[in-house]
Symmetry: C2
Subunit: 165 residues, 2 copies
């Protein structure tokens, strides 16, 4: 990825060093894959996350997801407005999706998805699967009862007291 | 999406009806967005999930993520081998990523990402952002300290007692 901005515009090496330390800790304690993440607000660490997939039996417990969930609990919000995320590796599609839903200000990352792939992680495969139409993906996806579902979404649209996120 | 398989090959309308009921419940109780999901093994419901983003202050608490996490706890595993997922709407990129990491057998879905977009949800935007190089995304992504991160991944590769996931 030749068009990545290097060196970092505004990234704090102290935070990234902590993230890489976390990734090594996660590996050495066998809590999960070698990945770490932080959520920062201003110059303060709001939360730390390490990959805990195998420790917790939770395939969604990637470092970024763990850090985002903890930061939202700490800040009592479902939006990480004005927060920055530091992660030891380019987020996988799940984590990138979580980041978009949390809406932080900026993401700093160190490793790339191809590095993760070389270490045996599926990130790159999932990036290639996502743009495919559902019916062509390696996990079969089958649509049914479309109309019934759209009726609920229409009710949502008409609902005056909904909380948007 | 004209090439989607219709009607469903093997989807069980009883389960999808339950999922759509869950999506309506989630909307009416204001727990979150109007979305529901189930994890099924054989003919048994292992877990149910509804969108609980605003209730729990957790932007990752989409119906599929909640159902996957609960099913993994119930089955004491981080892999949903031989399980099926039913979801009231085509999974967003975060949930689709979670599904790939959980590795179920098949995903049945009802609504489409464009339906979700019309109801004010970002799914479709995130699908369009994902294939972009990190530096071109609407949430800025900045790389730093690449070498330090790859060193940890090399240590992981050399580690004999790692648990793969």
């Amino acid at each position: 990825m030749n068009d990545i901005v290097k060196p970092p515009a505004g990234g704090n090496a102290v935070f990234m060093r902590r993230v890489i330390e976390l990734s090594r800790e996660s590996m050495n304690t066998l809590h999960g894959g070698p990945f770490g993440a932080l959520v920062i607000k201003g110059e303060k660490i709001i939360s730390e996350g390490t990959n805990s997939v195998t420790l917790w039996n939770d395939p969604t417990a990637h470092a970024e997801v763990v850090a985002i969930r903890r930061a939202c609990t700490a800040l009592n919000t479902f939006q990480l407005t004005d927060c920055d995320i530091y992660t030891s590796c380019e987020p996988c599609p799940m984590c990138l999706g979580a980041i978009y839903w949390a809406r932080p200000r900026v993401v700093y990352y160190a490793g790339e998805r191809t590095d993760a792939a070389q270490a045996g992680f599926d990130d790159d495969l999932i990036y290639r699967e996502l743009p495919l139409p559902p019916s062509r993906r390696s996990i079969p996806m089958v649509q049914m009862m479309h109309e019934e579902a759209t009726r609920v979404l229409a009710e949502w649209n008409a609902k005056p007291d909904k909380i948007r996120y």
